[in-house]
Every structure is written in C-alpha cells, then in structure tokens.
Amino acid sequence: MPKPDSRKRFAPLMVAATIAALALALGLAACGGGGGGIEGGGEKEAPKVKLEGKPSGSVTISNWPLYIDKGTVPAFEKASGVKVNYIEDINSNEEFFNKMQPLLAKGESGDRSIFVLADYMVAKMHQLGYLQELDKSGLPNVERNLSPSLKHPGFDPNRSYTVPWQSGMTGVIVNTEKAPDVRSICDLFNPKYKGKVDMLNEVREAVPLTMKCEGVDPSQASEADWMKAIEKLKAAAESGQIRRFTGNDYARDLTSGDAVAVMGWSGDAVQLQEDNPNLEWRMPEEGCMLWSEDMVIPVGAPNPTAAEAWMNFVYEPKVQANIAEYVNYVTPVEGVKQVLAKRNPELANNQLIFPSASFTKKCSATPVIEGQEEQNVVKAFNAVLNG
C-alpha cells in the first residue's frame, strides 16, 4: 500500500472532527437552554399595574397542563369581550423561570400577561423585581372571596402581587391492591416495595416529606436536617428502593403497575382514579405538604387590565366551581362548596378538595430556603437525582 501523504492523512481527521462537531451541536441544541448574557435583576421596587378603563383586546396566560376546565376561558371571553390566548407551557417552576429569566431581566414578559407558579418561585421573582404590584380596585371578587387561610402568607402578607390559583396537598398515592399497607412516608422506604416506589424530583417536596418521616418539622429544619433527609433519599436511591424520581410522570408508572406507591399530589389522584379505581391518595401518618400556586403579572406584561379582569373572573364562586370540579385541587375561593353541594354533593364532601382543618392538622407549608443554604441543598439533592 502506498504511504499516504500528510495532507491525505489529515483529511479523515478533519471529516471526523466536523462530524463530531456537528453531532454535538445537534445534541446541545436539543438540550435547550439559552446562552448569552444574564444580567440585571437585583432588588428593585416593583412597578405597579395601571388599570385602563374597561378590559378589551387580548391577553396571554401561561399555566400548567390540565389545570382548567374547558368552559371557563370561553365564558370569560364572552363576558368581557377579551380574547384569551391560554397556553399550557409550564411544566416545572425552575424550568419555566430559567426560560423566562433572560426576558424578564430586560423588562419583557414574552407577551404573556399572567404566569401561574409556586409560592416560593413567585417570592423569588418578586425579590428580583420581575413582578408587578396588583391594583386591588380591579379585584373585588378576590377581596371578597379569597379563603381567609390564604390571605396573609409569609411571602406576601397583603397579597399585594399574588392571587392564588389553586392549592393542594402532597402525600402518598398508593395502589390499594398491591401496596395496601403503605400509609406513611416512612412506608415508602419499606424494602417490601423495592424498585416499585417513585419519589418527587422537587427538592421542596421530596426532602421535607422525608424529614417528616424522620420526625423533623420542615418549617424549623436546619441545613443539617435538610442534608440528613437528602442522605436518606440517597441511600434509598442507591439500594434500588426508589425506582425513579418523577414529576407528574409518576402517573404513567402507577397506571402501568411499574410503581405501587409514590409521593404524589392530591388532585392527580382524583383524576387517576378514573383510569384505575385502585389508586388512592392517602394523607401520610406524618402529615402532608401544603402548597399553593399563584397567578402573577410579570413586568412588561401587555394588557394588565384584562389580566386583572381574568383574575377577578375566576374568583366568582360559580366560575371557580367549574374549575374545581375539573382539576380536583383545593380551591382558594370561598363559596365554591355551596355551589357544588347542589350539583355534585360527592365532590363537595371530598376531603381532598375541601379539606377540613382537622384533616390537614399535621401538614406543613412549603418551607423557605434561601441564599447559600438553598444553593447547597439544591446541589446535594441534584447529586442524588443524577446518581
């Protein structure tokens, strides 16, 4: 064989390098995530919503999937004359925040007028100056009908920039046929169900629930308590006890029988029962986690007048009853129970939708972690997720 000259020997390398580079470029593009400068932020005084006469025009609302019934948006459009662009593009608080953050830092909202995000996330966005203060004169229904227990949360004592969308409970969802004796968070660690248990991939849910199993009150937890609970999760992950960490996708594992007990959200269970009557949400013996998700108006939001009109509209008990009937989470609106009692008494008496104070006695609110402590905890938890 003739000895190839150097240029020819180099050519295959160039081709290989180009293929490698292109393949990687594709791979990275698939990983999503924008690069570029991330500037701005810091503590700022929040701008305030300016109402302009009657609502009109159009408004874009970002929410989570399956979080509203089919009738409410058309009903609002008919009642107000506002055209609604309702998009279900939120799947995770962090992911949504990280997607919007570069825009918000420039004072833009990506043409969206309302986001629906968890308490801790809206608190963080408020701190960064990404949210507008609401004009309460446009929200009489909210003033009147907001559930008293939600009126003065720690992160927004006067509800000046948030309006709750739905609340809910995080506990365990079990397949009563295959795991009848799972009644607590600690039971999820029972080796009998090795490889058949999913845990949540949300640090603010999975870790506090684990703490409750260890007898620690999440609201009083120190960084060491967080780390200890994460260690427990890590050990369970490495032993094969935990099948995988999931978000809503635990629904797939439960319906296929791949998982028999998971950490899960109350509203999901009510919907899952329609597929499989053996699936049941249980209040863990240690108590549950209570959370709510809030509607907020971001900086740069177009048509805030219509956005407030929407917030006000869904606080009409009759309207909210339709949403509650569909989503099955804990409704933040007073008067819904009375509306439902007439047409759907079974639902009106469901503890998952209208929990009594005694039912949620041992439950804890989503704990606050901030700054360096948050960094450390999130890092340690992600190390467990990434195995």
Binding site: A21, A23, L24, L28, G32, E95, Q101
Partner: protein, 285 residues
C-alpha cells in the same frame, strides 16, 4: 471575466453552508465558551476567566461521563452486531425485497424520536408480555428491566440503529461483485473472501456508522430520561438539569465543552486506530 467567475464559483457554492455554520454553530459556541468562564448566580453572572468551572464540572460529574461513554459504546457495539448482517442481507441477498427492506429500516423515522422512546417504556414495562417472557426464559435478572441501565442501552441502540445500517449498506452495495468472484476463483473460501475482501471494502461504512451512532448517543438524554431510573442519568441529563432546573449556566456550558473535547479525542483515537482510509474510502488512497 468567465475565468474570474469560474474561480469564484466554489466560494459562492460554499456560501450558504458557511453562513449557516457561522450563524448557528460558531456564534453560539462563542457565547457558550464565554458563559463557561463566568461565575456567580443567575442575575449577577460575571465574566472573569473562571477556569475552575471546568475542573469542578469534571470532578463532580466524572461518574456520569464514564457512564455515558459506556452506554454509548455498548449501544454502538450492539447496533454494529445487528446492523452488519442486516445490511449485508439487504445489499446482497434481498433481491426484489431490497427496497421494501430499506423502507422498513427507515420507516420508524416517520414517528418522532420521543414517541419511539416512550413506546419502549410500554414494551419494557414490568407487567408487559416482553418482560414476562424475558423473565420466564431467564434472559433477564430478577427485578425490573425498565428504569435500569440495560433499558437505556436498548433504547439508544434502537434509536440509532438506522444510522448504523444505512452507511454500512451504502458501502456494501458499492462493492464490485467481480472482486469477490475473483477471490473465489483464486481458491479463497467464502469465509476468507468475506474477511479479506468484503469486510475491508465495507470499512468506510462501519466507521461512518459507528461515529454517527456513538457521537449522538454519548450526548443523548432522552433515553435515560424515559427508560432510565435512579443511577442511570447520562451527561446530557446533567447538562439539562444544570441549565433548566439549577440555573447553573456556567457549569452546564463547561460540561458541554468537556463533553465535546472528550468525544473529539475519542473520535481522533478511533480514526487513527481504524486506519486513515477507512473513513474516506477509496478516495483517500
């Protein structure tokens, strides 16, 4: 005039590709490189030649790197073992079925990557007939198959199989049958003719196929996401989680560059090892 035009023609032809590459590869790469050397938190990131991002990323995620390369390597090997006989059959033995078989190879591409992967979730699910069969004949260890490393490798193999089959098929199909006949005329056995004529002549296809499978498989995150469980995350999942859930952009960018560099090194070594003509085929000779 016409000679000037003739001289410039190649540059015009290169134009669209070059612009595309600069705009969508070089420019983003520059921003990524810059990002990978920044430090601080989202909202207050600063560019300060923070090289520690690289060493920290590499030491924190070495397990996932090794895992990604093992998964991608296994998938490539299995895909090669499946593809070669298949491509050989299509090229030489299929007769009038050739086009139908080629179509069957490409047909899965009519559904999206994501849907195909999710379908495997159902196939490997704990109570599926496939899993029960594998358990019954003792081909699978006890416990579940879905949400384990082998499930991820199976998904990777399946998803990248056509990228292996098609280049091998293309290189086999081009082989001049008279060369094989000549080998037989010179008293080579069928096996000898295969090892000394057919296989070397199809080497370019093998090299191209392994690269097209290994490179995207090493950076893949979809298969590990759906088919993997605890302890099966690949480096792509880590990068995704750093970007989207932890907002640690600098580490994510640094990891992306480390991945790129490692793959580049692996590919260069492979090309050297596989011989220089293999990739270029006869043209390089």
């Amino acid at each position: 005039m016409s000679s000037v035009r003739r001289r410039l023609a190649p540059y015009f032809l290169l134009g669209p590709g070059t612009i595309w590459l600069v705009l969508f590869f070089v420019v983003p790469l520059y921003y990524m490189a810059k990002l990978s050397l920044e430090s601080g938190f989202v909202g207050s990131l600063q560019f300060n030649w923070h090289w520690a991002n690289y060493s920290e990323a590499l030491s924190a995620y070495d397990t996932q790197f090794v895992r990604s390369f093992i998964y991608a390597g296994s998938a490539t090997l299995i895909a090669l073992l499946i593809s070669y006989p298949l491509a050989y059959t299509i090229a030489f033995k299929a007769g009038r079925w050739r086009n139908a078989l080629l179509f069957a190879v490409v047909a899965p591409f009519f559904t999206t990557y994501l849907i195909r992967t999710i379908a495997w979730e159902t196939i490997l699910s704990d109570e599926s007939p496939v899993t029960e069969f594998l358990h019954a004949v003792g081909l699978a260890p006890s416990g579940h198959i879905l949400a384990t490393g082998p499930a991820v490798v199976a998904g990777l193999t399946y998803n990248f199989l056509p990228f292996m089959i098609l280049p091998i098929y293309a290189s086999l199909e081009r082989i001049d049958q008279r060369l094989i006949e000549a080998a037989r005329d010179l008293y080579a056995s069928a096996a000898q003719a295969f090892w000394r004529v057919t296989l070397p002549l199809s080497a370019p296809g093998i090299v191209a196929g392994t690269l097209l499978t290994f490179i995207p498989a090493a950076g893949d995150y979809v298969n590990a996401q759906f088919l993997g469980g605890v302890g099966n995350r690949m480096i792509g999942n880590v990068i995704q989680s750093l970007y989207l859930s932890q907002a640690d952009y600098p580490s994510a960018a640094a990891l992306s560059f480390v991945l790129m560099a490692l793959i580049m090194v692996a590919v260069v070594i492979y090309i050297r090892f596989a011989g220089s003509e293999a990739l270029m085929g006869e043209e390089a000779r």
